[in-house]
């Protein structure tokens, strides 16, 4: 009987410990379950003049899209939520392609529906990014909704919108929320921008 109880304790303890060891490879990241790939209806298309917006940046300023008009091409990168695995594994990759964006006179604006403090802590954990990260937290998801990329659960789609210096949308892509958009997709869109 005692052996049986000991065996149960052993099995339960190992069962409890194993998920912790497996998850700890990605520190502090919530492991979200598989989700419906796309859960919104786009409200913009290529050729439209982009809706304008102003959002607070984790850098401490408000950023308005139209402030880049005539100066920079802008790639909006919407991600669903901070501290989730795919999102945490997307923007850091853009850190090593800053030169591609510079070559095309382009900037990224990262946007999530999380609050500024949450986004700030998340960015710190990722080691920082070269581009501004904006909070679409309040009114909740208003900008995502303008573009038609707000999901029914209040998170944003994993979406990319490329806007040229004239403020015209040149590329829109809504990726399956469960995967990362291929980098070449974004680079090709940059290369297709009118000179």
């Amino acid at each position: 009987m005692r052996i049986l109880i000991s065996a149960k304790i052993l099995v339960l303890t190992v069962g409890l410990l194993f998920p912790l060891t497996a998850a700890s490879f990605i520190d502090g990241v919530y492991r979200s379950p598989e989700q419906k790939p796309v859960d919104s209806q786009l409200k913009v298309q290529v050729g439209d003049v982009s809706p304008d917006f102003t959002l607070p940046c984790i850098c401490g300023e408000d950023i308005t899209l139209s402030q880049y008009r005539g100066r920079k091409n802008v790639m909006l990168s919407f991600v669903p939520a901070a501290w989730t695995p795919v999102c945490s594994d997307q923007w850091p990759g853009y850190n090593i392609v800053e030169d591609y964006f510079a070559r095309h006179d382009a900037i990224i604006l990262g946007i999530s529906v999380d609050s500024v403090p949450t986004l700030y802590s998340w960015m710190q954990a990722m080691g920082g990014l070269w581009f501004p990260v904006l909070s679409d937290f309040w009114p909740h998801g208003e900008v995502a909704e303008k573009f038609g990329v707000l999901r029914t659960d209040g998170t944003a789609e994993r979406a990319v919108v490329l806007i040229d210096k004239q403020g015209v949308i040149r590329f829109v892509h809504v990726e399956d929320i469960n995967v990362r958009p291929r980098l070449e997709l974004l680079i090709n869109a940059l290369e297709d921008l009118p000179g």
Binding site: S6, L10, V14, L17, T21, D89, I96, M126
Partner: protein, 199 residues
């Protein structure tokens, strides 16, 4: 003042705990040190022979006619396989250290005995090439866009390192995260070359 007292009836429980704890710790350590549930033999999946003449030469495939290879085809004693991602900030920070290790291996005349290569789960060929160019990686990197390798290796986090004995594919050691000073890691690899117990 309260005092914790232990009666005779508590002794069997204590004994059980004393027996269980080391066993549980041993099992946990075993699990921790293994690449997920994968076997400790490196899988025999095929990799493409690289296009770059320098990398073909590095792997010793200058005369190879086949377009693919398995690890056992490499004429060396040990392979250090890095599981990485272009998107992983730790892998980005670690790139210079792994490069340094690779250069130390060459400088100490061990390039014929130890080969380094990288596999990138979830990365496309383009993404791998961006990483390779950005950090001037001197060893071959292979994309694993559909996570085929990743599943076989045990869906490990990145960066992750497997030291493999090439002759029989035995995984001698795994390491997650940065491996510290490259010279120290090389000393460890040299001990393995001398036949030391990896533990």
């Amino acid at each position: 003042m309260s005092t914790l007292k232990m009666g005779r009836s508590d002794l069997p429980s204590l004994k059980r705990v004393l027996i269980c704890v080391p066993v549980i710790l041993a099992v946990c350590l075993l699990i921790w040190n293994r690449p997920g549930f994968a076997a400790n033999i490196f899988p025999d999946l095929e990799l493409p022979v690289p296009d770059s003449p320098g990398q073909v030469e590095y792997l010793g495939f200058s005369d190879r006619m086949e377009k693919t290879f398995i690890l056992k085809d490499i004429n060396a004693q040990l392979a250090l396989v890095q599981i990485f991602s272009m998107y992983c900030p730790v892998c980005q920070r670690e790139a210079e250290t792994v490069n340094r290790l690779c250069h130390l291996i060459a400088e100490q005349g061990l390039e014929g005995q130890i080969k380094v290569l990288g596999i990138a789960p979830g990365n496309s060929e383009f993404e791998v090439s961006v990483f390779q160019d950005n950090y001037q990686i001197p060893f071959p990197l292979f994309p694993d866009p559909d996570f085929e390798w990743h599943k076989l290796i045990g869906e490990v986090g990145t960066p992750y390192f497997l030291t493999v004995r090439i002759s029989d594919g035995q995984i001698l050691k795994t390491h997650k995260g940065p491996f510290g000073p490259p010279q120290e890691f090389l000393e460890f690899l040299k001990k393995l070359l001398d036949g030391a117990d990896p533990a």
